[in-house]
Amino acid sequence: MKEIIKIEELNKIYDTGAIQVHALRDVSLSISEGEYVAIMGQSGSGKSTLMNILGCMDRHFEGTYLLDGISIVEQGEDDLSGIRNKKIGFVFQAFQLIPRTSALKNVEIPMVYGGMKADDRKAKATSLLEKVGLGERVHHLPNELSGGQKQRVAIARALANDPALILADEPTGNLDTRSSHEIMDFFTKLNEEGATVVVVTHEEDIAQCTKRIIRFQDGQLVSDEKVVKEG
C-alpha cells in the first residue's frame, strides 16, 4: 500500500521567548492509502499542532513529513498552498464556510484556486452537493443551512479536487448526536469508496467509527491500535 502520510522524528517547539513549549516530541507514524484513522487526545495533547502540520499549514517543525511522497519541510509558502489545494480536503469543526456565499460557490473555491474552468467547476460542485444530499440546496447561503447541512457542504468542498487525504478536525464538535452520526457515516462511506480519511477528535465514540486509533498525550504518541468492531 502506498504511504500517504509518513512522519519521522517530528518535533515541534513553540518558542514564546520566555518559555519553550514542546508541543510534539519525537512523533513517528505512517498512514497508508485507504486507511480510516482517528487521532485522539485531550486538549493540550498536541493533536491540533499535529493537525496543522498534517494539513500543511505549518512547516516550522523538526523532522520529516512526506505527504504523498512530497517533503513538506522543504516547500515554500505558495507551494504549500498548491499542495493543500491538490492533496488535502479539509473539514473543520466550525465548518468554515464563507458567509454570504452560496453552498455551490463555497464548494467551487478549491477548484477556483486549482484553476478549473467555470463551467466544469459548477458541474462538479453541483454533483458533489448532490452526493452529500444537498442537491436541492445548492443556492442556499450558509446561514440558511443547519449545522449538519453546513458540514455536508464542507465535505463536498473537501472532495472538490479529488484529494489524496481527507483531513477532518473535530468534524462533529459543533453538531448534535444525530448529525454527528450522519457525518461519520459519510466518512465511512467515503473510506469504503477508497478515500484516505484522518479524523482528529477527542470523543471516544467518534474515534470508534474509524478503523485505527492513534492516541496522543503531552505531545507524544502513546498508542496506535486497530479498532476491533463488535459483532
Binding site: D78, S81, Q96, P110
Partner: protein, 401 residues
C-alpha cells in the same frame, strides 16, 4: 483568475453598499473638484484667448513716463503727432487715437441713465466693433466733421426712449463739463457673455461718440491708443513704433512705456494657468484624503474577513491570490468613485457654463489623468491592506473570532 477576483471584488462592494458608497465619496469629491476647477481654469483661458482673438489682439497703449513726475508738452501727444506716427508706419497702424472715456449721465425728458461714453478716432471699428442692430456705426466723416452723433446700447435706448430703435432721436448730456445735445445714429447690442460682463465689472452701458467732440484738437493728451496690423510681426512693429515716438518726442526709449493687449493676454493666461494649477493641486489633496479613506476601510475589511482569508488560504489560495483580491477591491472602489466624480465634475462645469452662458472646455487629458490617478490612489492605498491580508497565517486566521 483575475476575472474571478473582479467578480469577488464586485460582490464584496455590493454586499456593503453604504460603506462602499461612503468610501467612494472621498474620491467622488476629490475627482469632481479637480475636474471642475481645472476645467473652469481652461474655460476662462479659452475665453480670454477668444476675446482677443476676435478683436483687438493688435491693440496697445503707449505713454511717456516723466522722471520727475512733472508732465509737460514733451510727454503729451497732440492729434498731429498721432497722425504723423500713423503715416510713418506705412499703413501698419490701422488706428490711432486718444480714446478718451468718461462716465456721464444722459437725459431724455425726465429719464436719466449713466453710461460710459468713449470717443473714437478715424477707422473707429478698428477700436470698437459693436453689433449694430439699428442705424449705423460712426464713420470717418462723422469724426472728421466733429458731428454730434452718438451710438448707444439697446438697453440704454430701451430705458430712456422706451424702445430699442432710437435712431434719429436726440439726447442731452454733459461731456467735459460742457452740455451737449447728441443725435442717436445707431443702436448696438451687447454681445459680451454674462461672465465677461461680470469680469469687466461693466455696470454701465457703453456709448460711442467721435473723439473730436470729447477733446479739443490742439489740446495735448497723455498717452495714445494704437492698433497694429495683426498680420505683421507685432513685437517688431511695436518696437518700431516706440522708438519712433521716442525720437519724435526727444525722449529716452526707456521712458516710452507700452501696454499691449498681446502681453496682457499672455500675462492673464499665465496667471489663470498657475491659479488653476495651484487650486487644482489643492483639490488633488482631497484625492489623497480619499485614498486614506479607502485604505482605512480596506483595513477594516481585511480584519473583518480574517476568517475568510484563512479559509481561502487553507483551500489553496496563494499569497498573490489574496493580494489581488483585495487590491482589485480597493482599485474598483476608487475607480468607481473616479468615474462618478468625473461625471459629476463635468456636470458641475457644464451646468455652471450653461447658467453663465459660456461654452465650457473639458480637456479629455484632464479626465484621463483624473481617472488614472484615482485608480492609482486605489492601488497605492490598497497595497498595504492587501499585503496585510495576504500575509496572514492560515492557522491563526482560521481561529480568528
Amino acid at each position: 483568475m483575475i476575472f474571478e477576483n473582479i467578480k469577488l471584488a464586485m460582490f464584496s462592494i455590493r454586499a456593503n453598499k453604504m460603506r462602499s458608497f461612503l468610501t467612494m465619496l472621498g474620491m467622488i469629491i476629490g475627482i469632481s473638484s479637480v475636474i471642475a476647477i481645472v476645467s473652469l481654469g481652461d474655460t476662462m483661458r479659452s475665453m480670454v484667448a477668444g476675446e482677443f482673438e476676435t478683436f483687438g489682439k493688435g491693440l496697445a497703449f503707449a505713454y511717456i513716463m516723466s522722471e520727475d513726475g512733472v508732465y509737460t508738452e514733451d510727454h503729451l501727444f497732440t492729434k498731429d503727432e498721432a497722425e504723423k506716427l500713423k503715416e510713418a508706419m506705412d499703413g501698419h497702424i490701422t488706428y490711432v487715437g486718444f480714446s478718451p472715456s468718461e462716465r456721464v449721465d444722459i437725459k431724455v425728458g425726465r429719464k436719466i441713465e449713466t453710461v460710459k461714453i468713449s470717443g473714437l478716432a478715424e477707422n473707429p471699428t478698428e477700436m470698437k466693433d459693436p453689433k449694430i442692430i439699428y442705424g449705423r456705426m460712426l464713420n470717418d466723416k462723422d469724426i472728421i466733421g466733429k458731428r454730434k452723433f452718438v451710438v448707444i446700447e439697446n438697453t440704454t435706448a430701451l430705458s430712456v426712449f422706451g424702445q430699442e430703435d432710437a435712431v434719429g432721436k436726440t439726447l442731452k448730456t454733459t461731456i467735459n463739463r460742457q452740455a451737449e445735445e447728441l443725435l442717436v445714429i445707431g443702436v448696438f447690442q451687447n454681445t459680451d457673455s454674462a461672465l465677461k460682463k461680470l469680469l469687466s465689472g461693466g455696470a454701465f452701458a457703453e456709448a460711442f461718440v467721435p473723439e473730436s467732440i470729447m477733446i479739443k484738437a490742439d489740446e495735448p493728451q497723455w498717452g495714445l491708443y494704437f492698433c497694429m496690423d495683426e498680420n505683421q510681426d507685432m513685437t517688431q512693429l511695436q518696437n518700431r513704433i516706440l522708438s519712433y515716438i521716442a525720437r519724435m518726442k526727444n525722449q529716452d526709449i526707456e521712458s516710452v512705456m507700452c501696454d499691449s493687449a498681446q502681453e496682457e493676454m499672455s500675462s492673464i493666461d499665465g496667471v489663470l494657468g498657475s491659479l488653476s494649477a495651484v487650486v487644482g493641486a489643492i483639490a488633488a489633496i482631497s484625492l489623497v484624503v480619499g485614498g486614506i479613506g479607502i485604505m482605512n476601510i480596506m483595513l477594516v475589511s481585511v480584519t473583518e474577513r480574517t476568517r475568510e482569508i484563512g479559509i481561502r488560504k487553507a483551500l489553496g489560495a496563494k499569497t498573490r491570490d489574496i493580494m489581488i483580491q483585495f487590491l482589485i477591491e480597493a482599485a474598483a472602489i476608487s475607480a468607481a468613485g473616479g468615474i462618478i466624480g468625473t461625471i459629476l465634475g463635468i456636470s458641475i462645469v457644464g451646468i455652471g457654463g450653461m447658467l453663465v452662458g459660456v461654452g465650457v472646455v473639458v480637456k479629455p487629458t484632464v479626465v484621463m489623468i483624473a481617472v488614472a490617478f484615482s485608480a492609482m490612489v486605489g492601488l497605492g492605498f490598497g497595497m498595504y491592506p492587501a499585503r496585510k491580508a495576504a500575509q496572514k497565517d492560515p492557522v491563526e486566521a482560521l481561529r480568528y473570532e
